[in-house]
Amino acid sequence: MLRIRDLSAGYGHKNVLNGIDLDVPAGSVVAILGANGAGKSTLLKAIVGLIGRSSGTIELDGKPLTNESADRTLKSGVALVAEQRELFKSMSVADNLLLGGYLRRGQADMREDFERLLDVFPRLRERVRQPARTLSGGEQQMLAIARALMSRPSYLLLDEPSLGLAPRIVEEIFDIVRRISAEGTSIVVIEQNVNLALDVAQSGYVMETGSITLAGTAAELRSSDTVQAAYL
């Protein structure tokens, strides 16, 4: 279980998140909903240690993560696929994938994972030697997800995986998300397409101006007046 209590975090001395409480049970998919600027992406960055946390606690299976750096958080099994995908665009698809497994370098089974992920994402296999910048938006998103999976995370944080993609590609991406979840990886997904997010998630949270304002199961959120009025 990824357990967050009273988390405040932000940039420099300015807090963007205020007293966040959030639970991600092992093996589940949790959706985080909210308008632009609500602090959703900041929350994911704070969880993985990419921005400073001013107070509160983050625990992974009972072990504290609060003061860990990004590399140690990843080592503990929490990987982020950022909103802008943050690919290394002049590098090949293969090099991007190998960088995803950077902390596992030297491990004999890394090559197996590399091949397995190219089976999961056959489009990437076709373009394995191409620079990442030459991929389409959907392929770049697939590469970003595959790269994060190279670290064998137990928790995968996805920030707007459907952003800027055609509906057909979005479906493909979410099929892959379901498949990853079925294989046992816990997922936190931020998604503007609320119907899609609540289809794949078992529970969810609504954020407004850096705080959680609503929490519940996917069904509860779907029937909530607040969610219906603002997001559906």
Binding site: L50, M91, L99
Partner: protein, 316 residues
């Protein structure tokens, strides 16, 4: 594998054949190109690959020259051992300088490394008792197992293998996980951190490699010039090394060799215009920054791409 072996064999044949065809002065020039390329290789690693702007290379070169000279003069340390000891120490200094990147980046890092070069040069000038001050000091002759290496013809057999081995090491480094991490940091520090890369440690390691290569290059250049003049290790020289890297191609070890060849050989062809050499180099730098930021080596890759494209179209 076969191609690599064949390439290695050709390189070895050229290496042993060259002294039979080239004059003493030409061998000296080959050594000068190789040693300069080694210095510039340090910039390729730290700036071209890891993306950290550094104007510290002239200081590393100076330390790499003065270190073995002082160790030999004061403690009787053999020059070859002095070069190696100094390179390790300068590598550590480079690592410490890399820790600066925690606080500064971009233009400010360039200024900070420039300040480092200025401080080191001032230290050379004002430590008269140790370095000979503004007058400089003699670089001792290299001796290995009783054999003296004092001319271009003899140093050729030391400089080229050393430079060759280090180029091979850097080539392997670039294609290793650490090299990929350097390149990842250049493209996005945030994304690199998200991959679990310890960004500060890697940036410091890139500076350490740059310092090590610069110091070995400095030692070799000292052996070739036989005299250490502190005016050769200032900010102007730091910009000169950066210019060599830009003209050759910042992101490729081959660029370091090509750039060094241009900057060593052009003055030979322009002897009548010695007064204007600075202007020629400044114009070269400007032209390459604006028109071909990836340097001369990118011309070759573009050419290969065009030829490849034409062949594909022909086959279709």
């Amino acid at each position: 594998m076969t191609v690599r072996l064949l390439f290695g064999a050709v390189v070895l044949v050229i290496f042993f054949a060259a002294p039979h065809f080239l004059a003493e002065f030409q061998l000296f020039q080959v050594c000068l190109i190789a040693a300069t390329a080694l210095v510039v290789l340090g910039i390729v690693v730290v700036t071209g690959i890891a993306g950290q702007i550094s104007l510290a290379q002239a200081a590393f070169v100076g330390l790499g020259g003065y270190g073995p000279a002082i160790l030999a003069a004061r403690y009787g340390v053999p020059v070859w051992a002095g070069i190696m000891i100094t390179a390790v120490v300068v590598g550590a200094v480079g690592y410490a300088l890399g820790q600066l990147t925690l606080r500064v980046s971009g233009h400010y890092l360039a200024l900070a490394t420039m300040a480092f070069t200025a401080i080191v040069q001032l230290a050379f000038i004002h430590s008269d008792a140790v370095t000979g001050g503004a007058v400089g000091m003699q670089m001792p002759t290299l001796e290995i197992s009783g054999k003296t290496f004092a001319s271009g013809g003899t140093l050729y057999y030391v400089v080229l293998p050393v430079v060759g081995v280090l180029f091979l090491a850097v080539h392997n480094l670039i294609h290793s996980p650490v090299g990929r991490a350097f390149a990842a940091i250049r493209q996005s520090e945030t994304a690199a951190a998200a991959m679990g890369i310890d960004v500060l440690a890697h940036k410091s390691a890139a500076f350490a490699a740059s310092g090590f290569l610069g110091a070995i290059g400095g030692g070799l250049l000292g052996l070739l010039s036989t005299y250490l003049d502190p005016s050769q290790f200032g900010i102007t020289q730091a910009v000169y090394y950066l210019a060599v890297a830009v003209v050759g191609g910042m992101q490729s070890p081959l660029g370091a060799i090509v750039g060094s060849a241009v900057f060593v050989l052009v003055p030979e062809f322009l002897q009548a215009f010695q007064t204007y050499l600075g202007l020629v180099f400044a114009l070269l730098l400007l032209v390459f920054i604006v028109l071909r930021p990836n340097g001369l080596v990118s011309l070759a890759s573009d050419l290969l791409r065009i030829v490849g494209g034409k062949q594909q179209r022909g086959a279709a």
